[in-house]
């Protein structure tokens, strides 16, 4: 399973390195969302700085939808999905590989967005260790949930409109927990939120989605 996961992750990342869709389209879109937030909220009143953690994670979520669509589109072209199924790779391995590749892409995106938030919103970075842990756990959860829902909607017609409707309510807890934990790390938390509670929720989310994907990806792959 782990070897298969590594193979699939390497394949997805190689495709990304050559096509540069995430770098040329998804990342600029994410930064654009940050700029649009600044247009919508008055940048002079400190609203952006206070809401930075939430806006950051909303931007990540929107970009994740695009990244998931891209990750599935790669399998949709030229009958790749059938080839992957016939390859004899373990479905759980395929799931973990696709989720890992997505997580790497999302993590890179978060670094770009983090720099954007510091530069554009004037956020004072701090609590690096906690921020890194939050980003890692939230990214794993997002990538796992995204890969499951991507596969659910991926084979369906009308997938472009279906995916956000399915994915966003399911990752709402990731948004809540990641935002609160990031606020705690940055010291902008409104209430005395305990980062440990939110971190444990993020951890549980990541484990649950990963476990569900490992079990459910087999039946989902059979269909197409």
């Amino acid at each position: 399973m782990w070897r298969d996961a590594l193979l699939v992750a390497a394949k997805d990342l190689r495709i990304e390195a050559r096509s540069r869709v995430a770098a040329n389209q998804v990342a600029p879109f994410a930064v654009l969302v940050l700029v649009l937030f600044a247009f919508a909220l008055d940048p002079d009143r400190g609203v952006l700085e206070r809401a930075a953690a939430g806006l950051f994670w909303v931007a990540v979520l929107f970009s994740a939808v695009l990244a998931v669509q891209r990750s599935q589109a790669v399998e949709g072209a030229d009958g790749t999905a059938d080839a992957l199924r016939l390859s004899g790779l373990d479905p759980a391995g395929i799931f973990l590989g696709k989720a890992a590749a997505l997580a790497v892409e999302l993590f890179a995106l978060e670094v770009v967005l983090g720099a954007g938030v510091v530069v554009l919103y004037g956020v004072e970075p701090g609590g690096y260790l906690l921020l890194f842990a939050v980003a890692a756990a939230a990214t794993l959860g997002l990538a796992a949930a995204g890969t499951i829902y991507g596969a659910l909607a991926g084979g369906a017609r009308m997938r472009e409109t279906l995916l956000p409707l399915l994915l966003l309510p399911a990752v709402a807890p990731v948004l809540v927990a990641a935002t609160r934990a990031s606020e705690a790390a940055l010291g902008t938390a409104v209430a005395a939120t305990t980062a440990a509670d939110w971190m444990s929720l993020l951890g549980v989310l990541a484990v649950v989605y990963l476990a569900f994907g490992v079990v459910a990806f087999g039946p989902l792959m059979e269909e197409r």
Binding site: L152, A170, A172, T193, E222, E223
Partner: protein, 242 residues
């Protein structure tokens, strides 16, 4: 092919649901207006019942989906049952939100507050609207059933996670201020009685709707199969004529 979805079972279920609903309305109207909430406290006769029924609907959807995924019990009937139950569940969830909102306007002064339970219901509504959208995707029945069954089971995992997230989110932020406004604190016997009759009425209403909706789905399936067979038959006849 049956032309109707009614049977002695649905007739008796429907009559029982109608009687229980009438009793709920009568009990609800006869409740005294409470000091803080005025006339709106009477919504307790239907609101908890609706909320309970929506959870029941999604529970049945999850069980039916599991039964479809289990190879030994796999049958298209489970898939149709899951879909029928989820559809009714979405209606009940929307009604729960609507009655909660009507109650919240005079009590809290606004139509919507970011209360943990309200937020959870809204997320649940979005989740199952997505499920219903997935059901409407035109694909071969087997593929659609598999996809929907996985989505339904995933929703069962997601709802408790959402529950924790919004619960902590709200309680960490503003304590239990809304809990103190809850009608539950001032309940006396009459209110509890009306609420229980409401629970029973909504459960009966749900069962009645479920049987009808399930049978409509079966009829749709049969019609699709028949029209396919008829089309095949027509092509065969054409071939013989030539």
């Amino acid at each position: 092919m049956r032309a109707s979805t009614s049977s002695p079972l649905t007739l008796s279920l429907g009559l029982a649901a109608g009687l229980a609903l009438a009793a709920t309305v009568m009990l609800g109207v006869s409740l005294p207006a409470s000091v803080e909430q005025g006339e709106y406290s009477r919504l307790i006769a239907i609101h908890p019942g609706l909320a309970w029924a929506s959870y029941l609907c999604f529970g049945v959807t999850a069980l039916a989906s599991a039964a479809w995924l289990w190879p030994r019990t796999r049958s298209s009937r489970w898939d149709l049952l899951a879909g029928a139950s989820a559809e009714i569940g979405v209606v009940f969830t929307a009604l729960t939100l609507a009655t909660g909102s009507i109650w919240g306007r005079p009590t809290w002064g606004v139509w919507w507050v970011w209360d943990a339970r309200l937020t959870l219901s809204a997320l649940m509504l979005a989740l199952y609207l997505g499920y219903l959208a997935l059901r409407r995707v035109p694909d071969p029945p087997e593929i659609r059933a598999r996809r929907c069954a996985v989505a339904a089971l995933l929703s069962v995992v997601v709802v408790p996670l959402n529950h924790f997230a919004v619960d902590w989110w709200r309680t960490l932020h503003q304590g239990r201020s809304f809990a103190q406004l809850d009608p539950g604190n001032a309940l006396d016997g009459e209110f509890i009685g009306a609420m229980l009759v409401g629970l029973l009425a909504m459960t009966l209403l749900y069962s009645w709707l479920l049987v009808h909706r399930y049978r409509v789905a079966r009829l749709e399936d049969e019609r699709d199969e028949r029209s396919l067979e008829e089309a095949l038959e027509e092509r065969r006849r054409e071939a013989v004529v030539v």
